[in-house]
Symmetry: C2
Subunit: 216 residues, 2 copies
């Protein structure tokens, strides 16, 4: 079976380009979705593995898997604008951690649905699956594509199939192990782990705190 085609919407941002390059290196056909396709084409030209470029709608329409690597503040408009483009049976991957800062203290934005993932589930077409993963690995660590990751990445999703497909992406990246934690209701806990990782970074004056599960 051929590898699924992965669109990375926001694929020129730090998190998006890290994911796009690592997945391209792992052998997935990758389409970088960007608002500025010329800038995307220039960026992709320097990558260690081939990737195509498209505008957001083109990338989504062509993809078996769409990774939404955009800020939480932008994602609603993108989903609304391209609602009809998500292919039936395609998988959407939420990687967003909605962090807000107040007087230098970081916290998670309150979200009526519980988490960024559940917020997206309420807005995506019903015929698209949704999983959440890649929430806890720092973007700049992802973007340093030659660097082995050697950590675990949690996966949750709206169905066993969504989780299996998302876990396959995670496992395809060198040094990464997927830990399936079940339904989308677990996404908020994953978002909290990112908050903890940032807290660790601040206190230890490092930049690359991440997690491994012991006992599995």
């Amino acid at each position: 079976m051929p590898q699924p085609c992965v669109a990375v919407v926001g694929g020129t941002g730090q998190q998006g380009r890290g994911l796009a390059q690592r997945l391209a290196l792992a052998g997935f056909p990758v389409i970088v979705g960007s608002r500025d396709e010329r800038r995307a084409a220039a960026a992709v030209a320097g990558w260690p593995a081939a990737a195509k470029t498209a505008d957001y709608g083109g990338a989504i329409a062509a993809a078996d898997v769409t990774i939404l690597a955009v800020p939480f503040a932008s994602v609603d408009a993108i989903v609304a604008d391209h609602h009809a483009r998500f292919r039936p049976g395609s998988l959407v991957v939420d990687v967003i951690v909605p962090i807000v800062s107040s007087d230098g203290v970081l916290s998670l934005a309150p979200i009526a649905e519980g988490s960024a993932a559940e917020h997206l589930r309420a807005r995506l077409p019903a015929h698209a699956h949704l999983a959440a993963t890649f929430k806890t690995i720092p973007a700049h660590v992802l973007d340093d594509v030659a660097r082995p990751l050697e950590c675990d990445e949690f996966v949750c999703g709206d169905s066993a199939e969504a989780r299996t497909r998302a876990a396959a992406l995670v496992q395809a990246i060198a040094g990464l192990r997927a830990i399936d934690v079940g339904p989308l209701a677990r996404a908020r806990a994953m978002e909290h782990m990112t908050l903890l990782a940032i807290a660790v970074n601040r206190r230890f004056k490092i930049h690359d705190a991440r997690f491994k599960v012991i006992g599995v």
Copy 2:
């Protein structure tokens, strides 16, 4: 300097007795606080390291450090009943994860103050310090005292001093590393990690998922 005297309130429960025994083995003077002192004395007699027993009030009054290893539903009454017993400058350690189950789906109980730790901070005397830790190691793993832990334990607290004192307890236990994540506002994220550990246990049919931070 002599080791601080540690009271474990609820020290005959699974989490409490695991902590009490491991801290006694690490050389701390330990007092097991129990509602049923005769039962506590019988339990302690079989432990691998000596510990004293007392009722809740006696244990709290004698302690430099009080670990509240009781259910969230019980802790308010215990703090109210023994409010005057907490010694000025003593440290209280919150280890509670307020988990609720609805149709088999576990989640954290909503808490007005944000977390069990902040809930306690609002109820303890101002002259006592508060730290939160030991929230993510499974109680039965703690209780299997011969078993090395080999994982990390997060610590947050209401002051640098509280965190340092709590971290010293964590580090004294063989195989455990303390990870200071800052203010009490981080306690909710620590409680979410326990929820994730339980989710991992369920999905992988194991009982001892816990965490290690990579990069520190």
